[in-house]
Each structure stands twice: as structure tokens, then as C-alpha cells.
């Protein structure tokens, strides 16, 4: 297996609380880029990025289109845009229609990142009340990446993690409070 080169995370209902127990634990020298999709309504920009920038040791922001993906940076998908990864490891954004009623969509990020990073990708589907992320996690898993799912028993909203586990039976189910350590171990 290739050493991981990036982490992708998807979360929906309950996302802010869950991510608050995960992202701030990552140390300032965490070596991988972390790309995050949270289902948020269209509208104000940079809300989540500024919220987490204040809590995290890593740099947090919403990327511009074609921005290079740098290690040790947390990138939040901008509201009302899909966020994708190109094979040259830059971000591209899109305003194509919603996928699974969502823009940004977790599936869209995970599928494009799986194309770009292959087996060098770690993906985690967290709390949520819909089925977004399940197909993306399957694409990631089939490309040889490491598929993680928040343990539905610990998730505020277990529907999304359950759907992901049903789609990807080979995914690891990890309690939220153990997830940061798992991401650290995987980064090596």
C-alpha cells in the first residue's frame, strides 16, 4: 500500500460538534492535507473555515479554484460549490447541480480524490442524516485507499455512517474519539 498523501472527510448533521472533537487534535506538524466537505446551506462564505481556524493548530481555509493542495492545511469546501481534486494535486471547484441534494457533495470530493491519489488516500465519513459519502467511500476503497467510518454507535446522527458501512463493508468503524489518533498513525 502507498503511504497516505491526503485525507478527505465528509460530515453532515452534527458535523460541527464532531469536527470540533477531531480537527483541533491534529498537531501543527501534521504532514497531510485534509480536505473537508460539510453540508452547509448556500450563503455566507468562510463561516466554517474561520470557526475552525480559531480552534486548530493547522492552517484552515476555503480554497480558491486551482489552488495547490499543500501538506498540513485543512481545506473546507466553499458553500454552494463542489470541491474536487485534480491529478496534479490542485483543487478545482464546480457549480454543477447538487448531488444527493447537496452542493458541496461528499461523493464528488471522494471520487475525484480517489482518482488523484489512488491508494494514497484516507477517507472518513462522519455523522449525518443522509446517504452522501457512501458511493465516494466505495470509490476510494476500490482504488486501494483507507476507508474509515465514524462508529454509528458514537455518531450524533448514525444514518450516514451506517449507509457508508453498508456500501463499504470493508471500511473500519472507528469511534469519534479514536479517529484523530488513527489519522496520526496513518500519516506515519
Amino acid at each position: 500500500m502507498t503511504r497516505p498523501r491526503a485525507v478527505v472527510i465528509g460530515a453532515s448533521a452534527g458535523a460541527v460538534q464532531a469536527l470540533s472533537r477531531l480537527l483541533p487534535i491534529l498537531p501543527g506538524d501534521y504532514p497531510l492535507p485534509v480536505l473537508v466537505v460539510v453540508h452547509v446551506p448556500p450563503g455566507r462564505r468562510n463561516v466554517l473555515a474561520s470557526l475552525f481556524a480559531a480552534k486548530c493548530n493547522l492552517e484552515v481555509r476555503e480554497p480558491d479554484d486551482k489552488e495547490p493542495i499543500a501538506p498540513g492545511t485543512i481545506l473546507f469546501a466553499p458553500p454552494d460549490y463542489h470541491m474536487l481534486v485534480e491529478t496534479d494535486r490542485t483543487v478545482s471547484l464546480s457549480v454543477e447541480g447538487p448531488v444527493q441534494f447537496s452542493r458541496p457533495s461528499i461523493d464528488v470530493l471522494f471520487e475525484s480524490a480517489a482518482d488523484a491519489y489512488g491508494s494514497g488516500l484516507v477517507g472518513a465519513v462522519l455523522t449525518g442524516a443522509n446517504h452522501d459519502g457512501a458511493e465516494g467511500l466505495r470509490a476510494l476503497f476500490e482504488a486501494g485507499g483507507t476507508a474509515l467510518v465514524e462508529d454509528p454507535a458514537s455518531a450524533a446522527y448514525p444514518v450516514m455512517p451506517r449507509a457508508a458501512l453498508a456500501f463499504v463493508p470493508g471500511a473500519e468503524s472507528v469511534p469519534l474519539d479514536a479517529l484523530a489518533k488513527r489519522l496520526l498513525d496513518l500519516a506515519g
Partner: protein, 280 residues
Amino acid sequence: MDAEQMDGEQIEDIEIRLLLEALFRRYHYDFRNYAQASLKRRLRQARDQMGLPTFSALQDRLLRDPATVSRLLDFLTVQVSELFRDPAYFRAIREKVVPHLRTYPSLKVWIAGCSSGEELYSFVILFREEGLEERTLFYATDINQDALDAAARGIYPLDRIRTFTENHQFSGGKSSLSDYYSTAYGHAAFDKSLRERVVFSDHSLVTDAVFAEMHLISCRNVMIYFDRGLQDRAVGLFRGSLARKGFLGLGAKESLRFSQYAGSFGEFVREEKIYQRRDP
């Protein structure tokens, strides 16, 4: 690499390259330098919805059945926008750019990649409210003829009007949006007087050239589908099209800082991605 070991993903990449080459050689639509990730996604949707097993099968149909090309273009180009999408952008145009535009006796405005016209009508209404419409010629261009036809009709489903109206108000609108359309059969039809100063035209940022000197170009969420090289071509085209101190408006998450022409523009309203041509 061992030829027998090539995986499905790599084969698909070859098929996509060949499909785009076929689309270009047969119909002169050039998507070869579009950003790959979202293009691939949209091509997969097109393939699946046409019920075809592979991109090679799609290529075969495309080459022999010209009706396929417009269906494919709909997957590749049509974007649903809103009137006054990102109201803060239009507020910045109104408050910061319009005072400069007032100093010109005549104006040319280019809505590049106008799709089904939402951005165009937003500008025409804003210019009418600001008393600039009569001295302005608007160019609305796109590569998709169906989208241009829709833009020239200016008819939108009624359920979208509420968002349009809110956006218009947040943009600092000085009139009521309902002054500009009439409703019938669940649709809102924008008044034809809004099109009197508009030229609709087929134009490609990928293959076509400068066609007039502009004071303002708005091209939002169009170049996000281009790769870096193609973005440079389009921005170069905009630079060549702008009058001295002309303005270029991009989408909220687009930036010229990765462009080879970054030095040719100054940030005029930084947070709204409104640039001004800078002359040496």
C-alpha cells in the same frame, strides 16, 4: 508498464482523451483542456444516461449521429445560475464600479459564458436602475446554442423567482424585480425591452479571439472548468479585450493569482474578485 496490467481507470482515461479528440475533430468543440476531474464526472453521467457501456461506445455514437452532440453539450456546459447570484458582487459593481463607468459616454459590457442568461439580466437591470443602460451595449456569449436561445427567451420557472428577488434586494436593487417580468403558466418571462441593447453571440473562450473593446467583462464560474493553461488563454483574451482601466469580474472562488497574467490586473474589490486592467 506491462501492457497487460493496465487497470480500468487508465483505460478510461485513454477513452476520454479519444472522445474529446473526436468531439473536436468532428464538431470543433474543444474540451481537450478542460479541468479533468469534473469533466470526467459529467462525461460519466452522459454515458450512463445515454445507456452506453463505455466512452468508446459514446465516441462511436457521437461520430456518426450529430444529434448526440447537443445532448453531450448539455452535460458539459449548461449551468444553472441565479439572477444576482452572490448579491455582494452586484452590490460592489453598483457601489464601486458604476461610479467609474458613469464617466464614459458609451459603454460595452461582455457577459462571457452567459449560459441561460441569469447573469445578463442581472446586469441589464442593474444598469437600467443606475441610468446607464441606454449608453451601453451588452454582449452575451456562450458556446452552447441551446443556452443562448434560452438566454434570448429569458423565461424562468416561477419557483426560482423568490431567490432572484431576495438576491436583487441584497444587491442594493433600487426597483422591484417584478417590474421586469410577467408571469404565466408557472413561468416568469423577462421583458423584451431588457434585450434591446443586447447582442447574443456564439463565442468560445477556448478557440475564438477578441471581438470588441470592453469596459467591463463579467465571467463568473466559467473558467473553473478550464485547466490552468486554458485559464491563461481566456484571461489573456480578457486582457486584450479590455479598455484601459477596464474591469474584470470573476466568481467568488476564482483568483488571478495563479495566472500568468496576474501582473496585468490590479485587485479593485478584493473580496468580490473584481479586477481592473493595469497598464505598464
